[in-house]
Amino acid sequence: MRLWLIALCACSSPQFQPWDLPTLSGDAGFSLRVPEFSVPPGRESQNCYFVRVPDIAQGRDLWIDRVELGINPGSHHVNVFRVKTIQGGLDPAAGTPTMLGDYEATVIEGSDDYAHNPCWQSSNWADWPLVANSQHSDAETPITNWQLPENVAIRFTPGDMLMVQTHYVNTSDQPTPYNARVGINFYNEHESASLVEMGSLFATQQNIRICRSNPQVTYAGTCRFPNAVTVAAANGHFHKRGDEFRIYSWDGASTSHPPDASQFYLSTEWDHPPMKLDIDLSLPTNSGIWWDCQYRWQPPSEFTCDDVDAKDPLHANDCCYTFGGNTDVGEHCNVFLYYYPRLTTDVFCL
């Protein structure tokens, strides 16, 4: 019986073909390539790469209408932020020089030092707007191709500082069998006269506790837009205790849970949450979103409850997972959402 099972697994395992993205040149856009690296078994790796938007159009702003991300399996997330307020040591100038494809960059390698390394300290990007992200990586479809809605684009000014954050996990829950490797293509739309700017919304429930003594819990929050918008894309983000992640439209006036009919996003896979594209949901002025993070407690797989307890700021000694980036000892409840038109600001609900 065991032999049969092994044979079946060998036959059905996907044959990984390394992804290949074209290298963009001229004013067609720009290509970033994170140098390949390995993640030791049982470990996680979070790196922060800093690079400036190149001047590829004689000083004019770039209007990015398509983003392609090639990501080897094992990736927990790849996020691209605009760098704003610098604090707590997450400073591009403090990084080690490297190259992201053809472009000079610096990197702060966070390894799995989630307690001390600034690349893990989330307060650093509390006002760093998200540009693009993907949590999708599997051997069969390693490329995420995000074509923005017609006449909508992400706006870059040459010289803008970006941060590409990679987070790889190499555990039994989320293995990294082929090394960590990430590439991003930003495609530039030349005809910018009629384009509308894409904005991003980042929302998080920071005060979460998933405890052994109360194993099934749901946390919810809301976030309002400053103007009438159309939601283009969204994805939810939580860790191993995550059961269901739901996002609803919210009228901005009610404190009771929105009806099921207003739900527009669902994820039941913490390790491969779907990026929902082409949502095309119109929301009026003063409205927003409501999101739920539903959890089911389970013990850590790589660390111990002593490690989880050591991270608990309230020292409840109940193996309570609290807010934190490491997937085995911390939890998240984050919304990444893209909307248009962006007016004066992106949106953060912290």
Binding site: N207, V217, T218, Y219, A220, G221, T222, F225, T345, L350
Partner: protein
């Protein structure tokens, strides 16, 4: 085999713990509380100056909970929100499972481990400063048996515990996210 499985599942089912605070057959009631920077609870009175603090991922939030009676202290959800007095619009809602520690006098209080953190700032849709101005907060509790209590009260969120000035900056009406606050 299926019968055995069902039997096993049936045996493992148990009634949830019931922790009545006061008389669960009487109408539930609550008073809003807030925590100071030392996590000490205070009963929130009308126009109380409620301190905002900095959570680890940024923003400025108030720690709000309840002192409640006639409700199950073990299985209760809290919905906390705030709104501008000039509008029917709700600026922010936080919903979470919470607890009530029995005070021994028929009332229970939200412990620090189950408190709501309600983000006040930044708010891109703000029409007034979010500090030193009155806003209405509401705390609502619902237990597993449907016992329900709520209170709304006007408070004044303040940045008194932040010596850096960043709270005043990010809670200003015209603050634009990403602009410097030095």
């Amino acid at each position: 085999m299926r019968s055995l499985l069902l039997l096993a599942i049936g045996c493992s089912t148990h009634e949830p713990t019931f922790c009545p605070v006061g008389d669960p057959t009487a109408a539930a009631a609550l008073d809003i509380i807030h925590l100071d920077d030392r996590y000490e609870p205070h009963t929130t009175t009308a126009y109380a100056r409620v301190p905002l603090f900095l959570p680890q991922q940024g923003g400025w939030a108030a720690r709000l909970g309840a002192r409640a009676t006639n409700i199950d202290g073990c299985h209760v959800d809290a919905t906390t929100s705030f709104r501008d007095l000039d509008s029917a619009q709700v600026a922010k809602v936080d919903q979470r499972p919470t607890l009530l520690d029995d005070l021994g006098d028929g009332w229970g209080i939200t412990p620090a481990t189950a408190i709501s953190e309600l983000q006040f700032c930044p708010q891109p849709a703000a029409t007034r400063d979010l500090h030193d101005e009155p806003y209405e907060v509401t705390v609502e509790l619902v237990d597993l048996n449907g016992q329900h209590a709520a209170q709304s009260i006007v408070i004044v969120p303040v940045c008194d515990d932040d010596p850096t000035g960043r709270c005043l900056c990010m809670c200003a009406r015209d603050y634009v996210i990403g602009s410097p606050c030095y």
